[in-house]
């Protein structure tokens, strides 16, 4: 496993202070919702965040990111590395780009819910209304009904195949 560089050595590592979130205008950071890892060091936590291959590293110089949602304050000394740090901060706070691939994955999550609802006894129409909102039933050419059936089949396949099939494909 590779080490995580500290902010003292790498300008792309952001030094942050973490405090419990609470303010309405504050942006929350929740490590539990991120892919990555946290290494505890003598001077605080070293955090690696992987957002679809874009890696961000944080040195938590005050507080912890492991105790729920936090509000981050970035430490940005005005030195020759300031522009580098600002660029990383902008990338870190930017909304992640949503690709077609990610939307397809979200569609598979819907399929999972469709299969689960069907197994729990929901009708095809109830599932369609739950997933897509109310609409004509079964729709022109029964397209709405057919779509729900396909989603249930996809969800059932995913459940049978298990999580490793999702990771392997």
């Amino acid at each position: 496993m590779l080490p995580i560089w500290s902010a003292a050595a790498d300008p792309r590592v952001l030094a942050v202070r973490a405090s419990p979130s609470g303010g309405r205008d504050q942006r929350n950071f929740e490590m539990i919702r991120e892919a990555g890892r946290v290494v505890r060091g003598s001077a605080g936590e070293h955090v690696l965040v992987d957002r679809g291959g874009a890696l961000f590293r944080l040195d938590v110089i005050d507080g912890t990111v492991l105790a729920g949602p936090v509000f981050l304050r970035f430490e940005l000394p005005d030195d020759r590395r300031l522009e580098d740090r600002l660029a990383v901060v902008r990338a870190f706070v930017a909304k992640p780009a949503i690709t077609r691939h990610h939307l397809q994955l979200a569609g598979r999550l819907q399929a999972l819910h469709a299969a689960e609802a069907r197994a729990a006894g929901a009708s095809l129409r109830e599932i369609a209304d739950g997933l897509f909102g109310h609409g004509d039933w079964p729709g022109d050419g029964e397209h709405r009904k057919s779509l729900v059936r396909r989603m249930i089949a996809t969800g059932d396949r995913m459940i049978r195949a298990g999580p490793r099939a999702v990771l392997d494909t």
Binding site: M31, R33, E34, A35, R37, V38, R51, G52, L66, P96, I98, H101, H102, L103, L105, A106, R108, L109, Q110, L112, H113, A114, E116, A117, A122, E126, I127, D129, G130, L131, M158, I159, G162, P163, R164, V166, L167, T169
Partner: protein, 56 residues
Amino acid sequence: MIAPHPDAVAAVIRRGRPALAWEVLRRDPAYQAAFAGLDPTQPEPAFAADWGLHFP
């Protein structure tokens, strides 16, 4: 609730396959039973190995 929770959708969009795989795993009755049997105060290397997980 039939529609996925918005947080789950956001997690899948943000984290991709690992988040979707987690949604599959947590619906697995065998996993649910194994997790329910864990002692939260004791590390369980066998559990982590069996399910391919690490807990912080």
